[in-house]
């Protein structure tokens, strides 16, 4: 029933914004974005990471990665060796793994999981927040108190506890982060939807006989999407960090040869003082991505803000 309703709502041709107008809109956003040097840098960083991830997924040999799904250990030379150009540009880490290849593949793994975490959290949270705000009354109270309960524990210890229960695989850690992360979006969408509700076009939609689901999917969610999108881009840098923190402190111990940035730092932990490169490069990979994502998110927030478009 919901699917049929969705098709009816989004399928009608006559009410859609013409493609040319939407393209114009995107071009304007991009123009505003590129006017600021910091968001241009952010965009460049994020695009570079995305390119590395895609290449690593499709033709890993292009960036010199032999095996994109597992690190290749060399137990004969397991002690980290310093960087030597061009054989080991980042050096090697325990147990004799080429750090450059490991970091490149780890970027793909971390990006993929973080993106999934944020998207799943945003989808669930936005639904709950919008429902609470739009339906109101008992539903509002119940849903938002439920959200509050999830926010009564600081997220990192909470994520640790949930991941501990679910298991040690990366999928379990991701699911734990979704469970901890969705209330942020729920709060956010709730606030957005509440202020939208004051608009007169809601009254108009209801008066012309649009049902509750119609209003939610046609009028509320599209309007909440843009600010949520900005929030997603701001959060992605943080989630990459948190995800790698969890793997660093001992989750994802099931497969020590899976290329993952937190695991790499944790593998190199005992050699950190004698061989600093083993933790330097994986950490830099997280730091630069996180900075790029934050710069881009800030830029997007300004570019998508109607007030900056005069």
């Amino acid at each position: 029933m919901l699917i049929v309703g969705l098709r009816e709502i989004y399928g009608r041709k006559d009410t859609k914004t013409p493609l040319s107008a939407r393209l114009r809109e995107y071009r304007l956003t991009l123009k505003i974005l590129l006017e600021s040097p910091s968001s241009t840098v952010g965009l460049a960083i994020v695009l570079a990471y995305a390119t590395v991830a895609v290449i690593d997924f499709t033709y890993p040999s292009l960036i010199g990665v032999q095996n994109a799904y597992s690190m290749v250990p060399d137990f004969m030379n397991s002690v980290p060796a310093p960087p030597v150009w061009p054989i080991h540009p980042f050096g090697t880490t325990f147990p004799g793994v080429d750090l450059y290849q490991a970091v490149m593949s780890a970027i793909r793994v971390d990006l993929w999981y973080s993106l999934m975490i944020v998207l799943a959290g945003a989808a669930a949270g936005t639904m709950v927040g919008v429902l609470a705000a739009y339906v109101g009354g008992y539903v509002d109270e119940a849903l938002m108190r439920f959200t509050d309960i999830f926010m009564s524990i600081p997220f990192l210890p909470f994520a640790i506890a949930v991941a501990f229960v679910l298991g040690r695989a990366l999928d379990d850690v991701s699911l734990a982060l979704v469970i901890v992360w969705w209330p942020n979006y729920s709060r956010y969408a709730y606030g957005q939807a509440l202020s939208l509700k004051e608009n007169a076009y809601f009254e108009a939609a209801r008066a012309s006989g649009v049902g509750t689901w119609g209003i939610i999917f046609r009028h509320v969610i599209p309007n909440v999407l843009t600010p949520t999108f900005v929030q997603i881009s701001l959060d992605l840098g943080t989630v990459v960090q948190v995800f790698a923190s969890l793997t660093f402190i001992g989750f994802a111990s099931g497969n020590p040869l899976l290329p993952e940035l937190g695991t790499l730092i944790s593998n190199g932990f005992q050699y950190a003082v004698t061989a600093p490169w083993v933790i330097f490069f994986p950490g830099m990979a997280i730091l630069i991505f996180s900075i790029g994502m934050n710069l881009l998110g800030d830029g997007l927030r300004d570019a998508l803000d109607p007030r900056s478009r005069t």
Binding site: S152, A161, V162, V273
Partner: protein, 355 residues
Amino acid sequence: MKLRYYIARRLLLLIPTLLGLTLIVFAISHVGGSQRLLGEYINSHSTIPVNVQEQQLAERFHLNDPLVVQYFYWLAAFVQGDWGYTQTTIYSGTVLDAIKLFYPNTFILSVLAAIWTGLIGIPLGVWSAVRKDSVLDQTTRVISFVGYSVPLYWLALLLIIVFSTTDACSCLNIFPIGGTASVRLMGGVDWYSGGISDPTHVLIIDSVIHGRFDILEDALMHLVLPVITLTYGVMASVLRVMRSTMQDTLSQDYIRTARAKGLDEKTVINVHARRTALIPVATLLGHTIAWLLGGVVLVETVFNYLGIGYWTTQAILNDDVGGIMGATIIFGLTFIFANLAVDIAYGFLDPRIRH
């Protein structure tokens, strides 16, 4: 609304929050299956077969009842202080005793980091807003951006590499690392065992009580790097919000009025603008505390600092349900009560909030 009513209302809201916390902790401890939960209680050397032991334990902990009933039995035990057992390489015993041992260390680390965050973050944010686009402002913005993005455990490791006494290049061997004190000093000390000191369990206080100022100095040196790491990680958001709200405030009409009537710039900034700009920073405090308590786990782990966070990571490695549960409870309680304190202080500061 009178302040009294505001506080009473806020205290009442505590009840559902606390119940929610117990629900989450109950779920965490029971979802994984009873096998995992009973692991700590089963004696493999006993003459009673393991499956019989399991049955007896299931009976004792009411594990065959519906979950709702189990929750109430669990809650009753929880309220009476029976929080189960923990067994890790650093401590074996009841969860409550472990918390009593480890919590003071975590508390002192968090409080020190919070104080420094306020002491550095707020003036720096104000300063950077007043001198917008100056070199100082640009530097501050870069500092706060990197602070937002840097993985704390990684920063901690870098600091260890550069500043610790064990560093490879031995260029900046300033700070000792690992735990709360140097082993060479603690050898014959009878009020110190297993990394924990008596009677307050906080070494910098206990060393003063026992009059050992050399140990105090050593303990303080051990605290420097963890506090720097934690402060830097938490400060970024305070700095950012302080800067942006201070900028907004400085462009308000009443600031122009204050300047027009001839007040000197110092009074305008320190008395008129900063006070208003602090309110959004206060709303951010809850979020900041959450970051702080998350950061504590990572920082304690890297520095082998015996606190709740270190206990948590040991519990992960030892597959210890009790430790994870205890840490979740104590972090949750700290967070809830810290937020309560912030809200009440906020009620005092901003009369609008009471309505």
